[in-house]
Structures are given as C-alpha cells and as structure tokens.
C-alpha cells in the first residue's frame, strides 16, 4: 500500500477546511499494515465534521486496531470542492490516517446513521474506483459492508453492498475479520464463497444470497438461495456494556466538529417505548455502564484529550441510575480552566432533569432543549411520549428559574391520527412556555422546531403512511399562523422528509432510484444546499416506481414488509399490537420498572436489562408509577 499524500497535498491549499483531510487527531492510531492482516477502511458517508465524532466508528477503529490480525483506517466524504479536484486528477478516495487508496483495503465498512447519505455511499465507492454494483466486483475488490441504525433496512442498498450488519458491532467485527482473513489466505476465490461464509455469522445479512419476488408493487417473497443461509437475520447485542469501555483513546480532532467535546456513553438501549423512535426500538434492552466505569472514562478521557467538556450520551441520560451522583462527582480540576462542563443531551422533560442540568451547566446558559414531540396529551399517548403539560411547564419553569432565557421545543408533525387541534396544540404549548418565561425575564423566548415525521422500519409506526409534502407544509403553516409573540418557528424541509421516507422504507428496487439520483449529481442530500426533491421524483418516475406507494400509503397487516426477514429482536405481533394500541390512544409505561410486555428482545436473546436502580428515577419515567389518565388535566392554566 502506498500513500497518496504527495498527490493530495498540493490540492489542499485550494479547498475549504483542508484540516478535514490530514488526520493527525489526538487518539489517531498509526496504521501498521502487514501480511496476514485484514485492512479495514471505516467510512462515514458525510463530511468530516459530522463523521468524526461518531462513536460507533471510533469504537470499531480501536477494537480492530487492537487485534494483531487487523488494521483499520478512517475516511469521510470529501467535500465537493476537493472531490472535483480529485476526479480531475484521477486521485481516488483515500484514508485520512495514512492517505491510502480505498481500493487497497480489504473491507470498506460504512456507518449509516441516516438514509439520505445513501447517494454518498455510492459516490465514495465510485471515487474509490470500486464498482458500485456488487455483482460487478471482482474478488480483488474490497468487501463493502454497512452498519448503523439505517442498516436495519438495507434493502435499498442491496445491489451495492456485500453485507449489512444488524445491531452492535463490538463482537461481530472480529468474526467478520476472521472470515475475511481466511478468505484472503485461501487466495480470494469467488466472492460468492465469501458471502456464504459471511452469512453464517449471526447478525450479518448478505442480500445477494436472497431472491426477492415482486408482484406489481408488492413484495411476495424473500427466500434464501441456499439451505444454510438463514431465513431471518437477527441483530447482535452485547450483553454487558461494562466489558466494552471504548473508546479508550477518544479521537479529539484538530479542527472544529459538530460535537466538539468528550463523549462517554452511559447506557445503551431505551425502553421508554416511544413509538416513532427507531433508535429506541432497535437498541433494546437497556444496558447501563457501571457508574464507577463512567467516572473513570470521564477522568481518563479529559486527561487524554484536554477537553473541558464531557457529554454523557445515551438515548435518555437522565434515566441513568444515580445520574446525580455521577455528575456531582466529576471533580473540578483546579489547574485547568475551571471545572469541566457536563452536557446532558436528550434531556427528559421534567423539573428534576432541569435541576440536574442547572447543576452541571457552565456559566453561559444559552438555551435548553426539550422534546415533547406532540402538541396534545391525546397525541402523546398515541406516540407513547407520556409527558403531561405539567411535566413540560414544570421543566420550563425550572429552566427559566435557573437562568436560561431561551428554550427550544422539538415537535414532530405528520404523526398518526394527528388532527389540526393537535397541530395547533404545539403553538399553544409554546405560548404557555413563553408566558412562564416572562415571569423571569423579558427576553424569554421559545423556539419551536418542527420535523416532518418519517416512519421507520422495526417500529410500531412502520405500517403508517407518512404525510405528503403539501400536508406537512400545511401543518407547518398552521403552527406558524398560530404562533404568538415570543415564539419562533423553525422547520425541517418537508420535501427532504419525503425522500427520506422513500429511502427508509424502500425495497431493493429503490436502489435504482438512489443510483439515478447519485448519477445525476445528487450527493450530500442531507445538506439543504444540495438537496433537490425533483431529482428524486424524476429518478423514481424514470424507474417506474410510484413514490406514494413507498411513502404515503398505509401498510396492511398481511403485507410482507421489505425488511421482514431482518429482525431487531422485536416480535412482529408486539409491533402490530403496539400500532393498534397507538390508534386506541393507549399508552405503555417503561418496561425497565414495570412488568415485561414480551416484545421479544430479552427473551429471544437471553438478555436482561442491566439497570442499577430498581425504582424509576426521580421525576418519573414514561408513565411509570403515574396515573396516566391525569395527563388530560392542565394543572397550570396559562393564557396570554
């Protein structure tokens, strides 16, 4: 393997933010390639600033480099300016660590945290000189693997990948490494031989080994082509987070990135059961990291990186047992610039949580974010986000009382059963929050951030037909029209939600649309300056695929979903019943502290929750121990 640095270097003075391409981060590992090692290129299909903080990628980077028979480097999507120069000069996609060509690696593993990045996956393969179609790859070409949340429905990428990994990667990467190493040692015979071996690894799905039959628009069957290929592939889950205290050498970049702070994962999984939330559904059950280990990782990480801010990450950090003890024990470092700041992403909506946030926030209290997600209690029982108005107003009151002057509220619109009253309820809640804030500061302001709901695979809402562009826009306008003084409304482009819906619940045929969008220049589709829905609609029309069929149509119970042969451990019956319960406005408390609903995850995998506290946290959690009916009351009546 040779370095492309001498060819890349002369271009860097001419592009924006060249530090994206030099590597050299704190925690970067000098790659030692060699005979008998499998060389991995861990790829993030978006720009460096977005990809570098990705914890999944950092964890695998370290685990692989620790193995004597593996070596891993990283790459991110080159920004359009550098890509143009690279293509002009025939320079292929390269790693940022040692600037080696993508084609020189044995495995390219993409982390997919969203769907609109799919066109970038194709672009990066192509830029690397690797045939984008799996069928056209020679045994000498790299093995293309995808993982991450979006890989739970990898069907739209079926034609372009060798394998998809479902679930957590810590253990499975080693097993894949063994298979690829053996395949290399045997002289890289046919790719199909490799696929057969990969398919034997639990959690690894090889699309080429399945025949999919369509009748009209419908999927009628998905059948393994060989007897030893599993009919259903089930996700991988590590049972004990304590055994995986990674990253041990967190990457601290030289240049500014989106989450520029130390991240320590405090638990994985979430059983609050929000029905719209794919992350919560596919990462069950809850596995907490021991508090002591959390502390050690914080201390070591801060020392290593020189950061003075740590983010305690999870899907709902305030639910971590003993969270108060952990945050208060982060010792102020007298020598550095004051005590490290602790940030708690994904704040729970209650006063207790805000009190906690106040304790750990730095001097500057710019803004606090809550996610009530829906405007009325009725709709919140539908989506199972069991937050009462009292919870929200209590949280907001506490925020203003603790010195914050701005709050941001996240809402989804286009949810199942949503009426215009529900939508307008968003503006009413925001007005209520402003009124509370005015008691504390005349500068009180509330920002409402509206996202168009996109149903995802492996959730109870996977059967729901999402709202079209016009309907979403109408609802956005409804909120804007109803918003009172002091309320600012921001919204996500409803056109992007439609394209995201197509890629999220598409089948294999949607891959042709993705390919067309890419060939027509549609890269960086997560970026509004490059996104263009017409490109997607034109591509779908050219392929004869009705977009509505994949997006705005409700699915029926008997329908074979394109991802039905893939399992996140959740029983289909559980998901269907939960979907029906949603329509009946029936909420479901968190199973961490209430009896199991037998969703399938724990029983099927021999797993258990790993939760230090036997009781729900102060402030309550998701209906546990609460009288759900009281949500209808409005204890704080606030009118402007």
């Amino acid at each position: 393997m040779t370095s492309l640095w001498s060819r890349v270097e002369p271009l860097l003075a001419r592009v924006r933010k060249p530090a994206r391409y030099i590597g050299c981060e704190d925690g970067a590992i000098e790659p030692r390639h060699g005979q008998g090692k499998v060389a991995w290129l861990l790829a993030y299909p978006d720009v460096y600033e977005v990809g570098l903080p990705n914890q999944g990628l950092q964890i695998l980077y370290e685990i692989l480099n620790e193995r004597p028979d593996a070596v891993a480097e990283r790459t991110y999507a080159p920004w359009v300016d550098l890509e143009a120069l690279m293509r002009e000069r025939g320079i292929p996609l390269f790693s940022v660590d040692a600037h080696r060509a993508a084609g020189d690696f044995d495995v390219i593993a993409f982390n997919l945290s969203a769907e609109l990045v799919y066109t970038n996956v194709l672009n990066m393969l192509d830029l690397g000189g690797i045939p984008v179609h799996t069928a056209r790859r020679e045994p000498s070409d790299p093995v293309v693997v995808v993982g991450g949340h979006a890989a739970f429905n990898p069907e739209p990428l079926a034609d372009f990948i060798d394998a998809a990994v479902l679930g957590e990667g810590e253990e499975v990467v080693g097993e894949i490494n063994d298979v690829v190493r053996a395949w290399k040692a045997s002289g890289r015979t046919s790719r199909e031989g490799l696929w057969r071996e990969l398919a034997r690894i639990p959690g690894v799905y090889v699309p080429s080994l399945y025949d999919v039959v369509y009748e009209g628009e419908r999927t009628v069957s998905v059948t393994p082509r060989f007897a030893d290929v599993p009919a259903t592939v089930t996700k991988r889950t590590i049972s004990d987070l304590a055994q995986w205290d990674y990253p041990r050498r967190p990457l601290a970049p030289l240049t500014e990135v989106v989450h520029d702070r130390l991240a320590v994962e405090v638990f994985r999984g979430c059983t609050r059961g929000c029905r719209f939330c794919q992350a919560g559904m596919i990462t069950r059950p809850v596995r907490e990291r021991p508090a002591e280990q959390v502390r050690t990782m914080i201390t070591r990480g801060l020392e290593r990186t020189g950061y003075n801010e740590v983010s305690l990450t999870s899907l709902s950090t305030a639910d971590f047992s003993g969270i108060e003890d952990v945050v208060s024990s982060i010792v102020p470092d007298p020598t550095a610039c004051g005590a490290p700041t602790v940030s708690l992403p994904s704040l729970r909506v209650d006063a207790f949580t805000v009190g906690l946030a106040a304790k750990v926030a730095s001097g500057r209290r710019s803004g606090l974010t809550f996610a009530p997600e829906a405007g009325t209690w009725r709709l919140r029982t539908v989506i199972n986000k069991l937050i009462t108005e009292a919870d929200l107003y209590g949280a907001v009151e506490s925020a203003f009382a603790n010195g914050w002057s701005r709050t941001k509220l996240y809402f989804l619109t286009g949810l199942p059963t949503e009426t215009d009253d529900d939508t307008r309820g968003i503006a009413e809640l925001a007005a209520g929050c402003v009124a509370i804030g005015k008691k504390y500061t005349s500068r009180a302001s509330v920002t409402v951030s509206l996202g168009g709901f996109v149903p995802k695979a492996h959730t109870p809402f996977q059967w729901f037909g999402q709202n079209g562009v016009d309907e979403l826009q109408r609802k956005i306008n409804l909120v804007r029209g109803a918003a009172s003084r002091g309320v600012q409304v921001k919204w996500h482009d409803p056109r992007a939600s439609l394209a995201e819906g197509l890629a999220s619940r598409g089948d294999r045929r949607v891959g042709r649309v993705i390919e067309r969008v890419w060939r027509n220049g549609g890269t960086f589709q997560e970026w509004s300056e490059f996104f263009d829905l017409d490109r997607w609609l034109d591509a779908a029309a050219a392929e004869g695929l009705p977009v509505e069929w994949f997006t705005t149509r409700h699915r029926t119970e008997d329908e074979i979903l394109p991802w039905q042969h893939l399992s996140a451990g959740l029983h289909r019956d559980f998901l269907w019943d939960d979907w029906r319960a949603a329509l009946d406005e029936h909420g479901l408390p968190d199973c961490r502290w209430t009896p199991c609903y037998d969703c399938g995850v724990c029983t099927g995998d021999g797993l258990e929750h790993v939760v230090a506290s036997p009781v729900p946290p102060a402030g309550g959690s998701q209906g546990t121990g609460q009288d759900l009916a009281r949500g209808g009351e409005v204890p704080v009546v606030v009118r402007l």
């Binding site: 002369p10 860097l12 003075a13 001419r14 933010k17 060249p18 530090a19 391409y21 030099i22 590597g23 050299c24 704190d26 601290a252 030289l254 240049t255 500014e256 801060l302 020392e303 290593r304 990186t305 020189g306 950061y307 003075n308 470092d333 007298p334 020598t335 550095a336 610039c337 004051g338 001097g363 500057r364």
Partner: protein, 252 residues
C-alpha cells in the same frame, strides 16, 4: 504571569486554520496540566492571545503567543520546562522553541514586518526576472478585499525586500528537500494594517495565475520588531545580532 511562547508550525499541520489552532492551544495547556488565567465575566475565556494570523496552508518557524499562566512558573527552570512540555502535547509539526516572560506590550503592537520564503514552481530564471521587475517598480496596484469591500491598493511600499539570492540555511532540511525543484523567493513585508500576504506577492509576480498553483509552499522565517534594544530575540529563530540585514529593514 504573562509568558510569551515561540513555536514552529510545519508539515501537515499547516492546513489547520488560525482559529482551530487557538482551540488546540487551549487543549494543550490543559493536557500539559498548566493553569491558564481566565477573563472575568459571564463567559470566562482563557487569557491567551495570538500574534499575526498565519494563513491556512502557510508554515512558520516563528509563531508567537502570549499566555497568562496561573499559577505562574515559580523558577527559571520551570519556564525552560514549558517548551518540551507543550511540544509533547501538541501534534507533530508544532514545536515550542522558546518561552520567556513577556513585556507589557501586546504581540500585535510589537511586530511590524515578517519574512517569508516562497517556493515557486516556475522556472528559476523567469522567477528572478519577475522579482527584479517588481523590486524596480515604484508602485504595484492590486485589487483586494478589505473589511468586506473590494478596493485597489498599492502594495509596493509594503514590500521591504524581495530576492531570489539569499542564504536558505535557516530552512528545515526536509522542507528544502520537499521543494528542491522550486525557485525560492525571500520576501520581507509589512504587517501593519492590512499587511501584504504571500498570495498577493505571487499574484504580483505571476498575475492571472491561481496563486496556489504557482506557489507550492510558503514559510515564515522571521517576525520583526521595531525596538532594536530588545533584550533577547523574541521573534527570530536565531539571535538577532546574527542577522545581517536587520539594520536594513527601515520601518516607520
């Protein structure tokens, strides 16, 4: 105690911008376990101030920053210790070359001129001819942006010296070998006001060409201060008295 640090920035790390570099220093002080005083106010900022901004992709043998250390180094030895301690925690390519107690003046106030060496990927003879022509020109007008406005400026008065024949021994060996095929131009330019940038020099020498297509590398070798009675050589990699052309830089 306000301490002035001199450091170099060469190699891959040159692609890191000025602002990112400032953040990196903050992390470096913490990694080296050095306390930095913070400003008063609601959002305390560490008291670190930087000198002339080094353009992204430009290299330097003589960058400077002032930092208020709290607690202050208690002995001369501790001050001498700063360079190796900080070099160890900064990325490869950044090396702290000196540390001393800073005077009351800010870096910006002190520095009036800087020396660059430009590696020009053009024919050496042609480059020399163009250099001679620019030196001979009484004025040279270029269009450039200033505070968001496009305007025409005469940059010639800001070019104090420009030559192709100079002693390159101050340049690091690997830098010289990396540019062995290029013509080297040494320039001493003003840093007052808007200053004269290396890309502007290239533009003046090779009008119409994309500067970074002409110039493959550029490195700052000196920063100059007006006061000639300075106790040491804060901005020079060598002792000031060794520099033959020091006196010839007529400033102000």
């Amino acid at each position: 105690m306000k301490v002035r640090l001199a450091y170099s920035k060469v190699g891959k790390i040159r692609f890191l911008g000025h602002l990112d570099m400032a953040h990196l220093w903050e992390r470096a002080f913490r990694k080296a376990n050095l306390g930095v005083a913070v400003s008063a106010g609601f959002t305390p900022r560490p008291k670190v101030s930087f000198g002339l901004a080094l353009p992204t992709a430009g290299e330097s043998l003589v960058e400077v920053l002032d930092v208020v250390l709290d607690p202050a180094p208690s002995a001369e030895r501790e001050l001498d210790d700063l360079a190796p301690r900080l070099s160890a925690v900064m990325p490869a390519g950044v090396e702290v070359t000196g540390a001393w107690v800073a005077g009351p003046q800010s870096i910006q106030e002190d520095v009036v001129a800087t020396t660059w060496v430009l590696a020009i990927d053009r024919d050496a003879e042609d480059t020399a001819t163009r250099v001679a022509a620019l030196v001979a020109a009484p004025e040279f007008w270029i269009e450039r942006e200033r505070k968001g406005e496009r305007r025409r400026d005469d940059i010639r008065p800001g070019i104090f010296e420009l030559r192709t024949d100079f002693d390159p021994s101050v340049l690091p060996a690997d830098w010289r070998s990396a540019v062995s095929a290029s013509a080297l131009v040494e320039a001493v330019v003003t840093t007052s006001g808007r200053g004269v940038r290396p890309t502007e020099l290239v533009d003046a020498l090779f009008p119409g060409d994309e500067p970074w297509n002409v110039m493959s590398r550029v490195i700052r070798t000196h920063q100059w201060i007006e006061r000639t009675d300075a106790p040491c050589a804060p901005f020079s990699v060598r002792a000031r008295k060794e520099l033959p052309h020091e006196q010839r830089i007529a400033v102000g």
